[in-house]
């Protein structure tokens, strides 16, 4: 007799989501679906707006990663203008993008995930939060908010405010960096390095305690996609797309931003508002791929900065081929924090970084503009089309979380399969389902009750609607 198990609500993603698990007649898990149950609508309501408004509008998609949308959107507008922005402007955008990744990864690791990693996934939920971390490891907790503050302060120094800064604009940036501001940012670097190194050492020392999670957390073969530099290194702002498979073998590379639609397709499923992206040559769903920190460390030939390269080499030693377990997104985030700090220091020490030539001006010269960059959660694409008056006729956004949607669904299935036995929900399932989603650091995380207390309610019903088992955890 088949049964359906529903977890509702799972989160509020600037909205809501739920999970349904379907058991077949033999009591085995047949399917798991991660339903995103609210429509955002940005692609539609931007139609008719002047393209120059798009960066400001797009920044408001998210309060945690507005800079990522500013970058991708402004790059798309640069293409519409057909300008090559001044090199100092490109570097300034890079600095803000790097600061964004640092603070976002810090939020994900220290605030959202460290309670699980430090205290254990089976620890008391009342303690499994940032206060529990303060009790058990106060220096780790302080490091987290300090690192996030560094990232936020850099964004504020550059853009005038921490959230939704309007400084990245079509053609460049709106104001140059002064020497004083540059020196203020450079003063943060030693502390940031120290925190990143300490945290990496701490995390690596604990890896052996997570062998079961590593084995079961969305640990499966898939493609991986990310941007790479000309030298094959880590690239967050520009570069070309590369895809590798689970053995690390090259599948595709050298794809410029404006050609992304040659390889990336999207599908809408009727049971969720979050689209699925896939690699077109393999079709859907075989062409599901992953993006974000784990994917980036899998696709690059190196990070391109010395400290991060050492850590990257150690990371890649975890497995032969690509690193597959999504648990390792946490590890990859820490390596990326280090890489971002190194890249930022390198750029800030270039003499031209304080140049006053930071913007190119033009009228629209193209009807289509595409901007691709790496956001904290993965590759982000903004594609705009305009009419003769410069008004948007089409906007297509491919968000990192959507590109990981297939993998998240598969991850939930894998965890559920491990923990659901016949008609009983095993202890620890709630925490694991939550944790496997959080490993991807989707935007869903900012709408969960971020200290590990999603308002879960699971009911296991039979075909007759009879309740077989129930597990409930209240929201905060």
């Amino acid at each position: 007799m088949s049964r359906t198990l529903t977890i509702d609500p799972v989160t509020r993603i600037e909205g809501h989501a739920k999970i349904t698990l379907t058991l077949g007649d033999d009591g085995q898990l047949e399917a798991a679906h991660f339903h995103v149950t609210q429509l955002r609508g940005f692609e539609k309501f931007c139609e008719g707006r002047p393209f120059t408004e798009m960066p400001s509008l797009m920044a408001r998609i998210c309060g945690i990663c507005p800079v990522s949308h500013l970058v991708a959107s402004s790059k798309a507008c640069d293409r519409i203008l057909a300008v090559t922005i001044p090199e100092p402007a490109g570097n300034l955008r890079r600095i803000m993008n790097l600061a964004q990744i640092i603070q976002s990864h810090a939020l994900s690791f220290f605030h959202l995930s460290s309670p699980d990693l430090l205290l254990g996934l089976d620890s008391d939920p009342k303690k499994r939060n940032v206060f529990g971390v303060y009790e058990a490891a106060p220096e780790l907790a302080l490091d987290g908010i300090r690192l996030r503050k560094i990232g936020q302060t850099i964004i504020e120094l550059l853009g005038g405010k921490r959230i939704h800064p309007a400084w990245i604009v079509p053609g460049g940036v709106s104001k140059p960096l002064s020497e004083e501001e540059r020196d203020q940012i450079l003063a943060f670097i030693p502390d940031a390095y120290a925190i990143a190194s300490r945290t990496l050492d701490w995390f690596k020392s604990r890896l052996s305690t997570f062998q079961e999670e590593i084995r079961t957390f969305a640990n499966f073969p898939s493609l991986f996609m990310g941007l790479i530099s000309k030298e094959g290194g880590m690239e967050f702002y520009d570069g070309k797309l590369r895809i590798v498979n689970e053995t690390g073998k090259l599948v595709e590379e050298g794809i410029e931003s404006e050609r992304f639609e040659e390889i990336v397709g999207e599908v809408a499923e009727p049971w969720t508002y979050l689209k699925f992206a896939y690699y077109k040559p393999l079709g859907y769903p075989q062409g599901n791929y992953r993006v974000g920190p784990l994917a980036r460390l899998n696709v690059v030939d190196h990070c391109g900065t010395p400290k991060a390269d050492e850590e990257w080499a150690e990371f890649r030693d975890l497995e032969r081929g690509a690193i597959l377990s999504s648990f390792h997104y946490h590890y990859a985030r820490l390596v990326e924090i280090l890489c971002c700090i190194e890249k930022m220091e390198r750029i800030l020490n270039r003499p031209e970084i304080t140049s006053t030539h930071v913007r190119a001006f033009a009228e629209p010269n193209n009807r289509i503009g595409v901007g691709v960059s790496e956001a904290p959660r993965g590759t982000l694409m903004h594609h705009y089309e305009i009419d003769d008056n410069g008004l948007i006729t089409k906007a297509n956004l491919i968000i990192a979380t959507g590109q990981n949607n297939g993998a998240m669904n598969r991850g939930v299935f894998q965890v559920a399969k491990h923990y659901i036995k016949k008609d009983r929900i095993q202890e620890g399932m709630l925490n694991r389902v939550e944790a496997v989603i959080r490993a991807y650091d989707p935007c869903l995380s900012c709408s969960t009750h971020a200290m590990g207390k999603m308002p879960f309610h699971i009911e296991l019903m039979d075909q007759g609607g009879n309740l077989l088992d129930t597990v409930r955890r209240a929201a905060l």
Partner: protein, 160 residues
């Protein structure tokens, strides 16, 4: 006395920008070193660093509850906030509790709320809220210039 004033809200939701407007008005009126001013969209954990070495913290926010335009000052008792912060929507009390956990101390603190009328889309305050903001800016300017703590205000104006 080291004092910080934190105004928070959404600048695109009309009266929700009341706290932000107070802070931006104070910026042009008080001496830069006389008080720390922070305007932010939401209260985030890293504000604990800003609070750690302060003697007094004033939080300013709009509220949809109450008599339109009414300004209410309420002391925040940190010991009432021993529950974990949600992370996504930290309140002043939770933030102060986080500060205390992280740094061993937290400043005495007050929350000033102004009751708003319109929280729809827009960048201007409603007239009644603008009037309350203007009055609050005057009062806070005097408080900062005379370096007096909040609890020297008339007792009946502070709600327990």
């Amino acid at each position: 006395m080291n004092r910080i004033v934190i105004g928070y809200g959404n600048e695109l939701r009309r009266d929700d920008a009341a706290g932000l407007t107070v802070v931006s008005s104070l910026e042009s009126r008080i001496k830069p070193d006389s008080c720390r001013l922070v305007a932010t969209t939401q209260l985030t954990p890293e504000l604990a660093f800003d609070l750690a070495d302060m003697d007094e913290a004033i939080f300013i926010d709009a509220t949809p509850i109450g008599i339109p335009g009414k300004t209410v000052w309420t002391p925040i008792h940190v010991e009432d906030y021993s529950n974990p912060v949600t992370g996504h929507e930290g309140s002043p009390g939770h933030l102060l509790d986080l500060t205390r956990s992280a740094f061993g101390r937290a400043p005495r603190a007050f929350l000033i709320t102004i009751c708003g009328v319109d929280f729809g889309y827009g960048e201007d305050l409603t007239p009644v809220v603008q009037k309350s903001v203007d009055a609050l800016v005057e009062e806070l300017t005097i408080l900062v210039e005379t370096n007096r703590p909040v609890d020297t205000r008339p007792e009946e104006s502070i709600h327990a």
